[in-house]
Structures are given as structure tokens and as C-alpha cells.
Amino acid sequence: MSFDAAYKKQAFKSVGTRPLRPDGVDKVTGRARYGADFNMPGQLVARVLRSPHAHARIKRIDTARAEAVRGVKAIITAADLPDLTNGDAALFAILDNCMARTKARYDGHAVAAVAAIDEKAAKEALGLIEVDYEVLPHVVDVDAAMQPDAPILDETVFTTGVEPAPKAPSNVANRSEFGHGDIEAGFAQADIIVERSFKTEQAHQGYIEPHACVASCNPDGTADLWVCTQGHFVYRQNCADLLGLEVSKLRVTSSEIGGGFGGKTHVWAEPVALALSRKAGRPVKLVMSREEVFRASGPTSATSIDVKIGARKDGKITAASATLRYTNGPYGDMWAELGAMTSFACYDLENVKTVGFEVLVNRPKVSAYRAPSAPMAAFAVESAIDELAQEIGMDAVELRIQNAASEGTRSSYGPVYGPIGIGPTLEAAKAHPHMSAPLGRNQGRGMACGFWFNFGGQTCTDLNINSDGTVTLAVGTVDVGGSRASLSLIAAEELGIDYQDIKAVIADTATLGYNDMTDGSRGTFSSSMATISAARNAIEVMRKRAALTWDIPLEDVQWKDGHAHAAGTKYGNLAPLSVKDIAAKSGNTGGPIAGHSELVADGAGVSFATHICDVEVDPETGSTRVVRYTVIQDAGKAVHPSYVEGQYQGGAAQGIGWALNEEYVYGDDGRLQNPGFLDYRIPVCSDLPMIDTQILEIPNPNHPYGVRGVGETSIVPPLAAIANAVSNAVGVRMAHIPMSPPRILSALNRKTGS
């Protein structure tokens, strides 16, 4: 990478201000075009037939009667999506998840799809597709799936990561292990040991906009896809791989996105829509219903976690261990591994060991959810840390400060940390008025820390100086959280022009180089780096144009405050040229002016947060209300502080829902009982207090402005902070998320012996 990404301290004019977001008016007036708002002439309506069984062998599918329905133009099954994955297990899992091949592996697994001229015809055809299932025993619980007598989901899965390699198939796809030191020796040094088991139930990302796309396969072998996604370049690659298309022949355009949170990093319906369009020869629109979103896309893992932490009476932790079991859905992945890596990442530990088990169950394929896997691990560890503080008789913040990781600490997942921000967030919490505010009756306070890796990735950006001096910024990361505003601020800062003169757009896959998925809190981190690079390249072009205009050597032209200046007294009569001046003459000085950047934005830097929460629990109903909530997190440099605060608040709000209410409820038949927002209750505004935020700015040494990603870490501490608050309010350690009213009442009844 030729671009110098090293941090340089500077005074900012645009960065750090709070202008209105450029996409705001369209969003509040309904003009913004989301996935389901795109239409094409002659488009067909697609509907998907889904398995009513949690686990069943597909013996036969007969589509003859459905095909005879008037208006039906195409019906596909797995036979229309041949296996082109060439031994790539991860890609095969995506293919099999999009359309079941030999077995339906969960309630809601797609088995066939119809494209018809209208919804009525499509629905009628779905009802006439005959599927002959051999229903198989199922398992949805993570601990039950690990039992020796559990139904096996996949006879070809043998646990990896264990020696010797097992000879029998298992629902445990992989075992991973991290840590260092000698935990037994460490526990032997402990005066107090806390040991407890925890469970968290499966939660959905709960994005308001369902998955939606329009696919159009053309007779010349090209295809277009308009889709709601966090990464249209990755969707292009996935769809091209699964359908045997050349990447250059598939053009993918991303819509506005009504929430993703990791759930739109994965193709679900898009290959199906393309296959239907290819077969029908017409555009096909596929919009998932809310029920389909719940049954067949995106949840995070349900977990079962054992934690053991030992400490001396002075508060020094001597050893810590955790065993983490995460559901993966029917396909093995690395969700428990991420939990095992992140669980003790906040602490400086001499002896630590974590073990993760990836567990296959008859539930939907797990997808990333905002700092994937870290919130559940933090819930277990931070609950145990809180209990440890109580056992020792030490302040919960003080205990964490005493054991917090710092620069030079060997992390629990291996590497030694550089400069990190856990200590400052804890010191800020200690000093925050929230920590000493009085509590009312039936109220409790909790706090917790959280860690997430953050990352960058491949990024490409174009910056075009228009003839009137305004700027069009084309980026390839999707605007999931206000990045068009923050990237416009960055471009304005570099060029020295007004924020209002920048128009940022998300380019489609045919008009910009490849960009990685917008995940890992990378949108503003990565694309701001590329924008700075592109702007600096454009400035170099403008310096040359100024030199031509003045007919002076290039080296005598300096760029300062948005203007080209002729350096030295010999050019004393030359007035500086603004961007507008240079742009106006561009046609006669060499043509259009643009800056381009392609780079890999690595060095994102790990991220930490500390949250404080007050709750009030109604002892008669078990209902919990969050009465005060504070988020403290390091942003490196807050480019647009309002949107940084929005990310902090959004993560906390999602965590509150997950902690108190959200839960996939399965019946004995393995079918999801609550696939809708009435029965799967996410928090609404009236459920939430004002979530206060405190932004710390400890510059990231690997970004020119010191920026860190901020999108994910804010969801890591809430489960634990709220659990600690509820536990303190009711006097019983709450070890099962969500802490719904029945679970709290049950805990209270156990406490009173009733």
C-alpha cells in the first residue's frame, strides 16, 4: 500500500462537526428507495416454498401441477442450482441454505420457488408443489445437540480441532482453544473462585427492512441485481459463483438499507431470484415476508457457556477459563471460536484458557450479528466478574481497572496489544456521575465492559471534481450508519471546501473497483482512508492544473486551505486559485479532474467500551424497565459525532432488547413459534430511556485522522450490564438471557422458596 495511513495530529475544520445527513430528507419523506422499492417492466413475483419440518429428507418434489397454474412462468428446485462449488464447503453451505438439496435442515428451509405474473398465481402454485418428506428426528437445543444420542444433522461432519480425529460423525463441527499460562496453577493461587453456567437464547438482528431484490438475467448472458445488502461486491461474487456467471457480467446495485447489523452480509434469496429469472427469461422480484426473515435468515447463535474465574482477596485475577458452546444452525462455522477469542479480551491475565464448540442444530444458518458472538461471551464473563467483585467485597469498576488489559498485555486470544482504550473507558466510568447517582426502590445498577476486533479491508473510491467545483464522491461501502455524511466531511476536510459541495453516492459493481463487505465496523474507517487518498490524488491533479494556468513550475504550487497558492514572492500578484476556479478551467487545462484510490485498509485497531445501566424490576410481574443507560467508548476520532453517538445508542438499544425480551421460541416439533414482531418483541422508543453517550478520542495510529470503527462494540456490554443491574435489583444472579418476566419471576420465586 503506497498510501501513508499513519496518524498525524492536526486541527480540523469539517471533521468533528455535525451537519445534517445528506440522505435524511429522502428517508423521512419516503422518497428513499429501499430494496422492495425497485421495479422493472414485465417483472414477475417470486415466492418460496419452505419446509414445515425441522429435519426431513426430501424424497421427491413434483412441480407438474404447480407449473400448470395460469400465470406461472418458472419453478425452481435445487436441480436448477447445480453444485458448482468445487469442494468449497463454505460456498456449498450457502448454496444448500438457499435451496435445500437432499434434506430440509430447519423449519423454513427453502425447498422450491415460483415466479409468476402476480402474487395470487405464485401462492396458488406454491400450494400445488408436492414434496414427499421423510421426517427425521430433530434437535434445536445446543446442549442436547452435543449429547451422544442426539440426532445427527450431517453424517459427513466429524469434529475438527481434536486429536485423535474422531471416527464417528457428530453435531460438533469444530473445537477451538485459546489462552496461555497454567490455569490449574492459577486457580490454586486464588482465594476466591466463582464458577457458573450461563445460557443465551437465539436472537435476530431485527432489521426493519426484510430482504428484497429484483433480478434480471438477460438473453446475452449478462444479468442485473438490485438488492438490499451490506456488500454488493461480495453478493456479486457469491451469486456469480453459485450460478456459474462471469463476475463482469453480473452488475449489482445496492439500495438504501433499512438495517443489516450483519444479517445482510449473506445471500439468502438473491441466487434464487437470479435462477428464477434465468429460467423465466424475465425480471423477478423477491421480497421476504417478516415470517420468512425470522424463519430463514440471519439469527445469531444460542449459547451455553461455563465460566470459572479465580482471584486473590486483593482483587488480582489469578486464572480464568470458559467453555463456550454456540449453535451454528445446520452448517459449521466459527461462531464459538469468536466467542472464545473475545471472552477475556478485556483483561490482563497470566493464566487463561477458552474452548469453543461449534454445534449443529436444526435452526436457521447463523449469520453475523454486530460484533458476532462477543455479546454472549461478555455476558457470561462480565457476570462472573461482577459476582467475583461482590464475593471479594470490591467495587466492580475498581476490580476491572485492577485487571484491565493495557499496552503490552498478552491478549487472551494470543497477540500482544498495542495502545488500547479499555483503561480510559473504565476510568471514565468511575468518574461518571451515573455511577454515584442514587437508586430508587426495586432498582439496581450494573456495569460491564466489551471488546471487538474491528477490521478494514479492500476499498476503492472515486472522487470527481465537477466543472462547477462541486465534488461527487463514489464509494463502494454501503451506507449502513451515516457514512455518506462522514465521508463527505472527510472529503471536505482534505479539499478545504464546504461539506455542502460534496455529494457522496454508493457506486454499483460495474462502476467502481471491488470493495469488501461493509462489516467489521469498517465502513467509515476504510472508505475514509480511501477518500483521503483519492482527495490527495485529486489535489495533485489540481496543483498541476494551477501550474498550467499560471504557466509556472509545479514545484512552485502549494495546496493550502482549499486553494492553490503560487509559492514565493516572485508570484506576489497571483491570487490563489480555489477548487471552483481550477474546475471551471479544467476543459482547457487537460480535461476532467478526478482522484482515485484503491487500497487495503488494514490496521483498524481493536475496540473497547464500558456501559453503565440502571433498571427497575417490578417484583410482582417480573417486568424490567431500563431507567438510565450510559455508553462510554473510544472512537479514535469522531468524524460526525452525532452518528457516532447514534451507533453507541443503537448498539445499546439492540442489547437491551436481546437482554430482556428477544428470543427464538421453538415448539416440541422444532418449528419456530414466534416468527413476527408481535411475539418476538424488539424494544420500541417507549421502552427505552435516553441513552447517554461519552465519546473518548484516543487516536488510532493506523489512520491519518486517528479514526476507529465504532459500529459494533456498543452491542457487546449490554447483555452483561443489564444482567448485572437486574441481578443487583432482585438479589439473584440472572444467568439466562433474555431476562423475560417469567424468568425473573421464576428466579424471585426460587429466592423466596415459593
Binding site: 477451538s176 491478549s411 494470543g414 498495542g418 478494514g456 463487505m517
Partner: protein, 81 residues
């Protein structure tokens, strides 16, 4: 010379060694030499690796330089949300 620590899943593919000493000045050179020394590492390195150099995670920038004596970890490529 840098010392490279492998994640547990790679250890069996590198003659059960958890830490290796490799003469390399960039991540690219390091990964190439690891593939040459232990061909079993080839697929994981090409498909699912991230490299941590002195605490900084690199997922893609294989041109990053390795300071003499750098602490290097091979991690699985992370997922994000």
C-alpha cells in the same frame, strides 16, 4: 527472523509445532515460506488467514513489513457484523 504462532487448527498441519521461526521481511514472504515448508498450510493460508503483527491485525495487506523480532500470529480470518 520472526517468530510465528499458529492457531490451534493449523498446528497438526505444521508437524505439530505451535511456534515457528521464519526468515521473512514481509507478510507475503512469510506466508510463501510457510507454504513451502508445510504444504498442508497452503489451503488455510489462501482461504482463511489473518496475520497479526505486533498486535495489529492484517487481513489483506500482505505487503506489510515485519520488523526484526516481530511477534506474529496467524489467526483465522474474522467475520464481522
Amino acid at each position: 527472523m520472526v517468530h510465528v504462532t499458529l492457531w490451534a487448527g493449523l498446528v497438526p498441519l505444521a508437524d505439530n509445532q505451535k511456534t515457528l521461526a521464519v526468515e521473512a521481511s514481509t507478510i507475503r514472504e512469510l506466508l510463501r515460506k510457510l507454504e513451502e515448508l508445510y504444504p498442508g498450510l497452503r489451503d488455510p493460508i489462501r482461504n482463511q488467514v489473518a496475520v497479526v503483527v505486533n498486535g495489529v491485525i492484517y487481513r489483506d495487506d500482505w505487503s506489510a513489513e515485519l520488523p526484526e523480532g516481530a511477534e506474529v500470529f496467524l489467526m483465522r480470518r474474522l467475520a464481522g457484523g
